[in-house]
């Protein structure tokens, strides 16, 4: 293997595809649109949720026990509420814009728990939390407990520490820790789909315009395949980085970065994610390149790509089983089978402590499978790049893999030369 030529092919693949408008749109356009929609959604959402625009709110206490007599403000919303005694005056204040609205705690409130908010428009979501906090604050004030109000409003802030010592997450970050493996899977599939479809495109293009015949008089099919897979892999990584950066920028624009506060992703999880990303990318890209080379048309190669993509996606279909019992038989089995292992292991590391031996077995299995798929793809590649118009059947494929593809009755010479 000539490493210089492989690198040359990889770089050519990288730069020439990076200049394609369709690729630029896929890599930069899509995340920009996603980021913009997140930012817009968050901004519009936050304006609706902003209690600053919905203040003050009147409290009309008509309960028999006068439970709001202490006029205690909830700690999180210290200036939100004002007390009103007369309903007509409260209504007038709303009409005059002095109050955003008022909550009527009727005499039935104690029995039914139901209160009514009167206003001129819909209320922000935070007001519902504020109303709960208002009730708690006033109840605790009336009971005269020797506790700060905060302990009643927010009783226990749970921090989870996994006993392997690597992970600690609190209530805010547990969502992300669970979400991270799913995000990984999403990015993996998205990046692999984009890059492998471009890989198939360039292959069918080079096959169609016959430059392939010139290329393989300069380099070996295996070198060409490796270079192309490598170049596209770098593009895939670039795409993942762009997606992540765009996501962060989107959140930052929306001033929602506080969602990530407290989130700590252990380094071993990042390393594992990278290792599995790379190994699964090679599996997908090499497999799809082989399919792209033997398929008669782009449409057919897309249909055939399911053979490779489906097993990789399989753990997603069993996501409920993973959530319920991450160390069960199916998740463990999926973690050991090369095609399903990247997704399965990454889903499990967010949920449990995966035994080291399982990780080792899955990585070794993946490396061996990658080499096997690369080898098989190179065989298919060598045969397929000069064959036009027909996809080999299973028997034909077996002959191709045995290096006897020339004899399956499909001549690699021009169609018009076939006698």
């Amino acid at each position: 293997m000539n490493l210089t030529k492989i690198w040359l092919i990889a770089m050519q693949e990288f730069w020439s595809n990076l200049k394609r408008p369709s690729f630029l749109f896929a890599v930069f356009g899509t995340p920009i649109i996603v980021a913009a929609s997140i930012a817009l959604g968050a901004l519009s959402g936050s304006s609706e949720d902003d209690l600053g625009n919905y203040s003050p709110v009147g409290v009309l206490d008509r309960t028999e026990q006068a439970i709001f007599a202490q006029q205690a403000q909830p700690s999180a919303f210290p200036d939100l509420f004002v007390w009103v005694t007369d309903e007509a005056a409260a209504q007038q204040a709303v009409m005059d814009g002095e109050l955003a609205g008022y909550i009527d705690f009727s005499p039935e409130y104690i029995a039914s728990g139901k209160a009514t908010l009167y206003g001129l428009r819909g209320a922000p979501e935070d007001l519902f939390d504020a109303a709960d906090a208002l009730v708690l604050a006033n109840l605790s004030a009336s009971m005269d407990l020797p506790l700060p109000i905060e302990r009643i409003e927010q009783s226990a802030d749970l921090t989870v520490t996994v006993l392997d010592g690597n992970r600690t997450f609190d209530e805010d970050s547990v969502f992300f820790i669970t979400l991270l493996p799913l995000l990984f899977g999403f990015f993996l599939v998205l990046a692999s789909m984009t890059t492998s479809s471009f890989l198939m495109n360039t292959l069918s293009e080079e096959k169609a315009n016959r430059i392939m015949e010139i290329l393989i008089t300069s380099v070996r099919p295996m070198e060409l395949l490796t270079g192309k897979v490598l170049g596209m892999g770098l593009l895939g990584l670039l795409q993942v980085v762009v997606f992540l950066v765009a996501g962060l920028i989107g959140l930052s624009i929306a001033q929602q970065q506080n969602l990530l506060i407290g989130l700590s992703i252990p380094p071993d999880m990042i390393v594992l994610a990278l290792v599995y990303y790379i190994l699964s990318y090679f599996l997908l890209a090499a497999g799809l390149a082989g399919i792209g080379a033997v398929a008669a048309s782009e449409q057919e190669s897309r249909q055939l790509s399911v053979i490779i993509v489906m097993p990789v996606m399989l753990p997603y279909l069993a996501i409920v089983t993973f959530l319920l019992d991450p160390n069960g038989t199916i998740p463990t089995l999926f973690s050991l089978i090369p095609f399903t292992s990247p997704m399965a292991v990454m889903m499990r590391v967010g949920l449990t402590t995966v035994p080291t031996w399982q990780i080792v077995v899955s990585i070794v299995g993946l490396i061996l499978t990658d080499l096997l798929i690369l080898w098989a793809s190179a065989r298919m590649f060598r045969w397929g790049i000069l064959s036009y118009g027909k996809t080999p059947g299973l028997r034909g494929l077996w002959q191709v893999l045995r290096g006897r593809g020339d004899s399956i009755g499909q001549t690699p010479v021009k169609a018009k030369e076939i006698a």
Partner: protein
């Protein structure tokens, strides 16, 4: 004697039940322009692809530049396939440099050589244009330039002049002749017999995968030479003593005169000068045209 640049020995290749190449043997000598001829489907492209190690023979041996194909030998070969292929969306200079570097050139060397070739082919102004922006003729020239970018020792070209106008054909022919002068060996497949007659020293004609003709141009011609004289002028040629049959061209300016058994060309020249009403501008021994030989071989199924 120097060892051959290409040695093909008893090579056979089947595609399923179809035998594309059948026990083929020939050699290509250093520094010559060697023609590979044959009708469509004869096995020329398959033979070229086997020489280039793109496909493997079922049996037989092929040696190129002194041995079996290696990466180093690949870098010494330039190949122009019949069905042309270029990156349509890539700029000329970038594409030429890339393909040159795949043949082992340094970036600097590839840049300089690409610029030199673009200048020679009068395409300097297009160096930053994409292939898709060029005319078909220009693309043909670029394809040719890519083939010779890395100054190969052996060039294998399949129908190199197809689709080119006479001017561009001449430019590329001159380029080929120049490379030959520098010692490059050239194997050329073509259907244009006049190009073979003008450029090539030796030829191989394949028909149905087998050798039909093989040797120098003169050897092949002499094998198919008829006992005839070619004349240009006017008169009643058939009335000349010693002539058995006169084949006059459509415009009546030339004729091929078949001589009677035992009559020499010298006898006919004497007879022509003494026959009244005959005017002669040209008198020569009739040499069979390669085109006619080709048709006779293919139609008659003759073999070497």
């Amino acid at each position: 004697m120097t060892s051959p640049v290409i040695s093909v020995q008893n090579v056979t290749k089947n595609y399923g039940n179809f035998r594309a190449v059948d026990n083929l043997s020939f050699e290509v000598h250093p520094g010559e322009i060697f023609a590979m001829l044959g009708p469509n489907g004869a096995g020329k492209s398959t033979t070229m692809r086997m020489i280039l190690d793109i496909i493997k023979p079922d049996s037989g041996k092929i040696a190129v530049l002194g041995g079996q194909m290696t990466d180093a030998i690949k870098d010494k070969i330039g190949y122009l396939p019949e069905e042309r292929g270029l990156y349509r969306g890539v700029k000329l200079m970038e594409m030429m440099t890339y393909l040159g570097r795949l043949k082992g050139m340094s970036r600097n060397d590839a840049n300089l050589r690409a610029a030199e070739l673009l200048k020679y082919l009068d395409l300097e102004a297009y160096s930053k244009k994409k292939v898709s922006e060029l005319s078909k003729g220009m693309q043909q020239k670029i394809q040719f330039a890519v083939t010779v970018m890395h100054r190969p020792q052996l060039i294998i070209v399949d129908e190199p002049f197809s689709g080119l106008d006479p001017l561009n054909t001449r430019i590329l022919m001159d380029l080929l002749m120049g490379l030959r002068k520098d010692g490059t060996t050239i194997v050329m497949s073509t259907h244009q017999m006049f190009q073979v007659e003008e450029l090539c020293e030796r030829l191989l004609m394949i028909n149905k995968g087998k050798v039909a003709l093989y040797g120098t141009l003169d050897e092949v011609r002499s094998r198919y030479a008829s006992h005839a004289i070619e004349v240009e002028g006017k008169g009643d040629w058939a009335s000349v003593p010693g002539i058995s049959h006169a084949e006059v061209s459509e415009n009546g300016r030339t004729a091929v005169l078949q001589l009677k058994e035992g009559t020499s060309s010298k006898d006919v020249l004497g007879a022509l000068s003494q026959t009244p009403g005959i005017e002669i501008q040209k008198f020569a021994l009739a040499v069979p045209r390669l085109n006619d030989i080709f048709i006779r071989v293919v139609e008659g199924g003759a073999s070497a």
